[in-house]
């Protein structure tokens, strides 16, 4: 260990080490652990111990531990660069040959070595097994133009994935908040696999778990993203101790976690994380009573004042982070709407621009966000190296006169007695916008938008449905317009796939049919017939074949430009504030940060394993 001083054992593990249940720290760590320079990050190296309490609204939210833990083969750092994490290093040749080097001596949470065998098992016995994955390896990132990767085991700690063409989305996928997983704890899962397991024991297990067959059993036991199986060996900082169903989940430190701080202390500092499940609407109240040590999920901006007033009592501080979506709320005109009249109107770029400039974003920002959000289009935000304010300001000014002019130009110049414009086919310009109605903020914003639009002669009706029904009616073309947050990842680097900017899948609210067309390689959906959309598709294709970062940057910029200019989606505000409640005892949580799922895994990039409690008893 650096510094020559022998680091202390974490209190939670001391007894076990003492009675030789588990090896001492030096033997638990890989030969070359990942060293996190805590002080170098401007933080304070910490102390072991303590329990971090968190609250969630649903049992499935326990996957937060895999997200916040953010342990991947490779990870994004706060600057958006991909760096090795579990891996010692990655070699990339020609953008198509990926050689992954594992850390020697790295162990699963049960102490079993983490080796190439775990990759092989996944590749051969899971991804290419007829029962577990009937159609071959399921993940799109493993294919390039329909070609599947070639997998080889180089040696005990080295594996290689090879394609004949470049695959720029491979590494970002491995680093994703919801990652592409290409390994599994073979030594554990074998006992559920028909190929390896003793049939009698397997049969007993199947009965015991009350599942249909070994496939279902294996599937259930192998899930790692939502850690429901406490037996499953893992690699993250905290490992589950509770078997669902439960209301309270405990996660204990992983004795074999591969990161250390610069002093040689094994991370995480915090011994234990707990997640209590309860009604989501009560979470702000519970947090306000000091019920959570680190909480952002289920807190909304409008809880801020309440939370602020409870700071004393709850012994916490509320911080405001910036949200990382392209838009807190964006309006998505459906370019594939069934109604031919409206389709024509919405495909007219002037109409979209007009609708955008007709919105008084400042007013909305003031009324709802105290002016703390940023008024702008649905695009990337300054944290991204690709950011340029021109994308942000394009057609985002408040200019009703311009809006009127544009609408007139688009052939909506006639109005009826109420001042509502008439479509070319004579109908009133009444837009029904569908929303999943998730928050009052959204409802309020829509109300304000409706007010603004009415001034330029467009009437807006809001209709709320369930999320799934909303998707359904958008993709079937019933919905003419919908509301949803903007681009998921608004701080991308050029190496991240620009999928959100071009038609790429059927879940895109602005062009579901075109997206589906691309997604299914033309088997379903509609062929895009708007030149701008076609260009976006081509650009995206080019990105997929690109090799250099520079090339990709250019593609990104062009795509952003097109999106900004065509106003396919109408962002209202972005960089909205996200309250983050941090216990006063909890150290190393950044004052400000970007709260976003992709990239960054919410707290993940800020390395929660380096957070610690100042009152922890050592």
């Amino acid at each position: 260990a650096p510094g020559g001083r022998y680091p202390p054992e974490p209190p939670l593990l001391r007894t076990e080490v003492d009675i030789n249940q588990i090896p001492a720290m030096a033997d638990r760590l890989p030969d070359s652990p990942r060293v996190i320079d805590v002080a170098g990050m401007g933080r304070e190296p910490g102390r072991y111990g303590g329990t971090m309490r968190m609250l969630m609204g649903d049992q499935r939210d326990i996957r937060a531990i895999s997200i916040y833990g953010y342990t991947r083969l490779v990870v994004f750092d706060t600057a958006g660069r991909i760096v090795p994490d579990l891996l010692e290093k990655v070699d990339v040749e020609e953008g198509r040959i990926f050689t992954l080097h594992l850390r020697k001596g790295h162990k699963w949470s049960d102490g079993w070595p983490f080796t190439s065998e775990d990759f092989r098992y996944w590749w051969e016995d899971m991804a290419n097994n007829d029962r577990l994955s009937p159609g071959g390896p399921p993940n799109v990132q493993l294919y390039v133009d329909g070609e599947i990767a070639r997998f080889e085991v180089v040696d005990e700690t080295t594996v290689r994935f090879t394609w004949s063409k470049p695959n720029p989305s491979f590494l970002p996928a491995l680093a994703g908040a919801q990652p592409l997983e290409i390994y599994a704890p073979a030594h554990y899962l074998r006992m559920f696999h028909q190929r390896y397991a003793d049939p009698i024991r397997l049969g007993a297990l199947i009965r015991q778990e009350r599942v249909k067959d070994w496939g279902a059993l294996h599937d259930r036991m192998a899930r790692s993203y939502r850690p429901e199986n406490p037996e499953l060996p893992m690699l993250g900082p905290w490992i589950p101790r509770t078997k669902p169903p439960a209301e309270f989940f405990v996660f204990d430190r992983n004795p074999y976690f591969h990161r250390i701080d610069e002093r040689g202390w094994q991370l995480p500092y915090i011994d234990r994380v707990t997640i209590a499940i309860g009604t989501s609407s009560l979470i702000p109240a519970k947090v306000g009573a000091g019920g959570s040590d680190l909480q952002a999920r289920y807190l909304r901006f409008d809880n801020y004042t309440f939370l602020k007033e409870g700071e004393q009592r709850g012994n916490y501080t509320v911080r405001l982070w910036e949200r990382g979506e392209g838009a807190y709320v964006a309006v998505f005109p459906n370019l594939n709407v069934q109604d031919p009249g409206w389709r024509a109107v919405l495909r007219d770029v002037n109409v979209r621009r007009a609708l955008s400039v007709a919105i008084n974003r400042r007013d909305i920002n003031q009324v709802i966000f105290f002016g703390l959000a940023h008024e702008g289009a649905n695009t990337i935000i300054p944290g991204s190296s690709l950011y340029d304010s021109k994308y942000d300001t394009a057609w985002a000014q408040y200019d009703p006169a311009l809006a009127n002019k544009l609408l007139d130009a688009a052939g909506l110049s006639k109005r009826d007695d109420d001042g509502i414009r008439l479509l070319p086919d004579g109908r009133r310009a009444e837009i029904t916008i569908q929303t999943a109605g998730n928050s009052t903020e959204e409802t309020d914003i829509l109300e304000l938008v409706a007010y603004d639009w009415e001034k330029v002669g467009i009437k807006l009706f809001v209709r709320a449905t369930q999320t799934d029904l909303l998707r359904r009616s958008v993709s079937s073309g019933n919905a003419m317009m919908s509301v949803w947050p903007g681009i998921d990842n608004a701080i991308p680097g050029p190496d991240m796939a620009p999928d959100g900017l071009a038609p790429s899948n059927s879940m895109q609210f602005q062009w579901p049919q075109w997206g589906q067309h691309v997604e299914t390689s033309g088997q379903m959906g509609e062929k895009p017939d708007l030149p701008a959309a076609q260009e976006l598709i081509d650009l995206q294709k080019r990105w997929r074949q690109s090799v250099t970062t520079e090339e990709r940057r250019a593609i990104w910029q062009r795509m952003l430009e097109i999106n900004a200019d065509e106003v396919f989606t109408i962002g209202i505000v972005n960089r909205a504030s996200q309250p983050v409640v941090v216990s006063n005892r909890l150290k190393n949580v950044p004052e400000v940060g970007i709260y976003s799922f992709e990239p960054g895994a919410y707290f993940g990039v800020y390395l929660p394993d380096t957070f610690w409690f100042d009152d922890a008893k050592d």
Partner: protein, 332 residues
């Protein structure tokens, strides 16, 4: 009597068959299914659902089979005690429900008990002291219990219980006792938390019950047989309970069967607001996310209880009023 019960139990079979078919159909009615909701919810959090996994699961759960077949699989399973598999929890329904049932029964039982213990004396008092100040006052309080939405009451209570008594917000116990085996401390924590849900869930019920008892009793207080009872020299309280009160309980007994299903279903919306670890929120969530078998089996279980409850209340009605027992079966 035994024959009557046997006959009724026989009739239950077709009833439950129809009910199960209807439940199954209604569960299918929404245009989407569990997986669509699942995908949509994932997307709402910026996550992408693994479509191939969804396909895998759909096959696992037999979504490729025709509806009828799935129905029969479900019903026959139900009869054999296999209640199906919850999509959301990915485990057998009985495992999901199991734990919560005890707490639900506890909460509902206390609630019902409280409702009765409070409502009966007050209802009787209000009826016998009609238009006294106490009657007005109790009416007023009862009506507030009915009129203020439960969620608001719940929020207010929980917040102030937290600020003043330091009770943890929501839930039936302090979070540290979750997952722990029952202990004295845990029981105490449960008791300390129980009163809020009991009070809030019970508030509306108590108010309504008081009103109903009062109204029904007022009708009976004038009857000649009550005079006879008094003429015998029965103490007023006893006379009241034995004669008019018993007669006025007709409405109450006809609903007593509902207690059975409600004891296990737990008041859903309120339980959600109160974040109780009862079955109510589970069922609600399952219905919303279209976790078919979880919701369906639970509902079918509830309707079994409904049917049994109706039977019980019919039997009790017969005991309460021999006119029904001896002549009720006849067609006019």
């Amino acid at each position: 009597m035994l024959r009557y019960i046997a006959r009724r139990i026989l009739i239950m079979i077709p009833t439950l068959l129809i009910t199960s078919a209807l439940i199954f159909t209604v569960m299918q009615l929404p245009p989407s299914d569990y997986f669509e909701t699942y995908v949509a919810e994932m997307a709402a959090q910026g996550e992408h659902a693994d479509m191939s996994r969804v396909e895998f699961l759909k096959r696992e759960y037999g979504f490729d089979k025709p509806l009828i077949e799935r129905y029969f699989l479900w019903v026959t399973g139900f009869v054999q005690g296999d209640f199906g598999y919850s999509f959301e929890y990915e485990m057998p329904v009985s495992d999901v429900v199991g734990e919560r049932l005890a707490l639900t029964v506890l909460v509902s039982f206390c609630t019902i008990l409280m409702t009765w213990i409070i409502a009966f004396p007050i209802g009787i008092y209000s009826a016998t002291h009609q238009y006294s100040w106490a009657d007005y006052g109790l009416t007023f309080i009862g009506l507030i219990g009915i009129a203020v939405p439960h969620f608001l009451l719940a929020l207010i209570f929980m917040y102030f219980a937290n600020v003043w008594f330091g009770l943890s917000i929501g839930g039936l116990m302090d979070p540290i006792y979750f997952n722990q085996p029952m202990s004295w401390a845990k029981a105490q924590s449960i008791l300390a938390h129980l009163w809020i849900p009991v009070l809030i869930i019970g508030a509306g019920g108590t108010g309504s019950m008081v009103r109903a008892i009062r109204a029904n009793l007022l009708d009976e207080l004038q009857k000649q047989y009550y005079v006879t009872a008094k003429a015998k020299g029965l103490p007023p309280g006893k006379a009241l309970v034995k004669y008019p009160l018993r007669m006025s309980l007709n409405f109450f007994v006809s609903h007593i069967g509902d207690v059975l299903p409600s004891i296990v279903s737990g008041s859903e919306l309120t339980a959600v607001v109160l974040s109780l670890q009862t079955t109510g929120p589970l069922l609600l969530r399952a219905l919303q996310s279209q976790d078919m078998y979880l919701a369906g089996s639970f509902l079918l279980f509830l309707s079994c209880l409904t049917v049994i409850g109706v039977l019980i209340s019919d039997i009790l009605l017969g005991f309460l009023d021999p006119r029904i027992r001896l002549q009720g079966g006849r067609t006019k």
